[in-house]
Subunit: 234 residues, 2 copies
Amino acid sequence: MTDQPFRIVFAVFNGMTQLDFTGPHQFLSRLPGSETLVASRDGGDVASEGLVFACTRTLADISGCDLICVPGGATATQVALDESFISEVRRLGLGARYVTSVCTGSLILGAAGLLQGRRAACHWAWRHLLPLFGATPDERRVVRDGHIITGGGVTAGIDFALVVLAELGGEALAQTLQLGLEYAPAPPFNSGTPDTAPPEILRAYNRRMAASMTIREKEARLAAARLANLEIAQ
Amino acid sequence: MTDQPFRIVFAVFNGMTQLDFTGPHQFLSRLPGSETLVASRDGGDVASEGLVFACTRTLADISGCDLICVPGGATATQVALDESFISEVRRLGLGARYVTSVCTGSLILGAAGLLQGRRAACHWAWRHLLPLFGATPDERRVVRDGHIITGGGVTAGIDFALVVLAELGGEALAQTLQLGLEYAPAPPFNSGTPDTAPPEILRAYNRRMAASMTIREKEARLAAARLANLEIAQ
């Protein structure tokens, strides 16, 4: 018999998109009977787009968890090359009941070898990189494949969190938290996906992304090669 | 001629609901030509539901801003009684081009005397307190009354941010950021407002709120009395 709380770990890093993390944290940290830890490679401060999250724990100090959630961000493919971060995500993910991500966090799960043969969500502009890690891109906003639950880009983390809450605590709990956090979205524009955005907005966005995406793809390929070597070695 | 950036100040406090702040921060901090400052009464660390936001500035040190945004949270009516915080919000608000809030942050704007005769949004469970400060509650998710733009509960801060971005930078900018942050919400349940939540969920929520709401109402009445005295004195 055990009264251990259900342990949720957010694995965070410098340069993450903060809402990938803060959105689901707002919902999941209210799960009754749970404890939510925020951890980074080195512990302490983590910087994200002008915010500094202090007092994060050190990933290596966390013995295990029930659910790991990895946010994304523009630095996701750099983080995929951070062997220390990736090995901790791999260790925690292999022992967790649920392995989850938001946005480009799925590329980090992929680099940790946790998505092979799985369907996964990702930010729409980065989704094509998932197959490098043996995963099948899925354009839905929240994707479940067995014990792996992944959310799409940034704000998808809120829909993702409600799906996870319903799984862990039941629909009534998810609905109660939705009411408390007044989640009845009413976007003033309909520009949230490539399919619905005005074509000129999409074109300009893609043009601006193009240069950095070349670098991101190189990083992702290198991370995938490292993963392949790791698997040959094991 | 001036190249001063458009200055946005988030006035934050211990016990705020972090998503009230982090949601709009994620969007507004991407406004080109702007600077986004996060400030608190004493500067330094601000704690919110398990997170610690470090390196916040001190409100009194900020000479002025173009837009002030005050998030809410369960401690909003306590903050409404914090004379130091309130006087800084009042000072910055009186000098700002835009005065804004998310969730129960409108009660703080109200306590600072910034909402008299104005329509304003608020978290649905707290909205009835707005008239104490001379404001008219409006149940819309984003409410604009002149230079005052207020958002409803928590997640409304994202819809609010898009409205503000369209005002400040135009619709194309708002749509571009919506695409980048993949804001095409798809809640798995329809429980985000008292009108749509299952009746038993709403009843349970209201039951749980009842005890603390008595205290919150007392705090709000006291804050309103102080405001009235301040206005008589001036």
